[in-house]
């Protein structure tokens, strides 16, 4: 058995497990084990995302596998109060995260650029709210981003802010004209933050879509 499961395969199995919640536990475990072994046999540890996606496409959607399982076996009565938790691993999650990140990043740095300290303080609160929502979505998402990727996404705005502030202070100490400073800060933070955000969101979207058997 491969020691680590590819994130796309893990996402597929997670979704399948969620859909099989109404099946008796023993049978559910057996179906999941069968699919897991199928994936382990079909995917090598060095295979790329494309290969894994092709194998998953041949498996068919988790829904079709679940339909087959439900068709022949009467569903076990679900324990009262226990509903499958709809985890935010849908493709809209990475998209929304990307939008929140972009707006918060640009809003905060735009304020630093145009206004003075007053405008900056006024935009810190809304930007922080957007960022809190983003952190919430990222930390509760499953099988879209690795732990390291989630950390990067959550630290993006704080880091951008720190970089802007320290760059500005450093330039000030070197006697550069003060109205140049915000531009430099903006360029450093957005030039670094935006591409990282874009790449991680793109990766997240592709993984979420692949996990649902769509492409």
């Amino acid at each position: 058995m491969t020691t680590t499961t590819h994130p796309l395969a893990a996402a597929y199995l997670t979704e399948l497990e969620r859909l099989l919640a109404g099946i008796a536990p023993a049978e559910r475990a057996e179906v999941l084990a069968g699919v897991h072994e199928h994936l382990a046999a079909a995917v090598g540890p060095n295979d790329d995302d494309e290969t894994v996606r092709a194998v998953i496409a041949e498996l068919g959607s988790p829904q079709s596998v679940a339909d087959e399982a439900y068709a022949a076996s009467p569903p076990a009565p679900a324990p009262p109060g226990l509903r499958p938790v709809a985890g935010p691993s849908r493709p809209w999650v990475p998209t929304v995260v990307g939008l929140l990140g972009a707006v918060a990043l640009l809003g905060l740095l735009g304020a630093a650029l145009t206004g003075g300290l007053g405008l900056v303080i006024m935009t810190v609160l809304p930007a922080s709210v957007l960022w809190l929502v983003l952190v919430g979505l990222v930390t509760t998402s499953r099988h879209i981003w690795s732990g390291a990727e989630k950390l990067v996404l959550c630290l993006l705005l704080p880091l951008a802010w720190v970089v802007t502030a320290t760059t500005s202070i450093a330039l000030l100490n070197n006697g550069l004209p003060t109205d140049l400073i915000p531009w430099l800060g903006l360029a450093v933070a957005v030039g670094g933050g935006a591409p990282v955000l874009h790449r991680l969101v793109g990766r997240g979207r592709r993984r979420a879509e692949a996990a649902l058997g769509t492409s």
């Binding site: 058995m1 049978e27 046999a41 498996l59 068919g60 988790p62 399982a69 022949a72």
Partner: protein, 116 residues
């Protein structure tokens, strides 16, 4: 509502597919991925490889297949499916009934106005 090709195919498969799987592993033990690829080869018996696994689980619960672990050259051991005695009996029963059933359906479909 008029049933389409897919609906009809699903119903037909439900009656016969398990016996096709039994016939396959009665011939020689096979592991899941192998069975799935062979069944989906022409797209008629099965289209989604994943639907094999609920089917295998049912067969095992009914005592018609058993599993063993075998070493493989290219990596970790694999789970192989084989028929049990009960599985072979079920397969024989299906073979006995399938041919007359198939012939009867063919006759009914080819007779003008259908057989009565």
């Amino acid at each position: 509502m008029v049933p389409g090709d897919d609906t009809i195919l699903t119903h037909l498969r439900r009656g016969a597919l398990e016996y096709c799987v039994l016939a396959m592993v009665a011939e020689a033990p096979a592991y899941g991925l192998d069975i799935a690829r062979r069944l989906t080869a022409d797209g008629t018996l099965m289209t989604s490889e994943g639907t094999l696994y609920p089917l295998l689980a049912r067969l095992r619960r009914a005592g018609l297949v058993a599993t063993t672990w075998q070493e493989s050259e290219s990596g970790p051991p694999r789970r192989y499916y084989t028929t049990t005695d009960a599985g072979r009996e079920a397969l024989d029963a299906f073979r006995r009934t399938w041919k007359p059933f198939r012939d009867a359906v063919d006759t009914a479909l080819s007779t003008p106005g259908g057989a009565r």
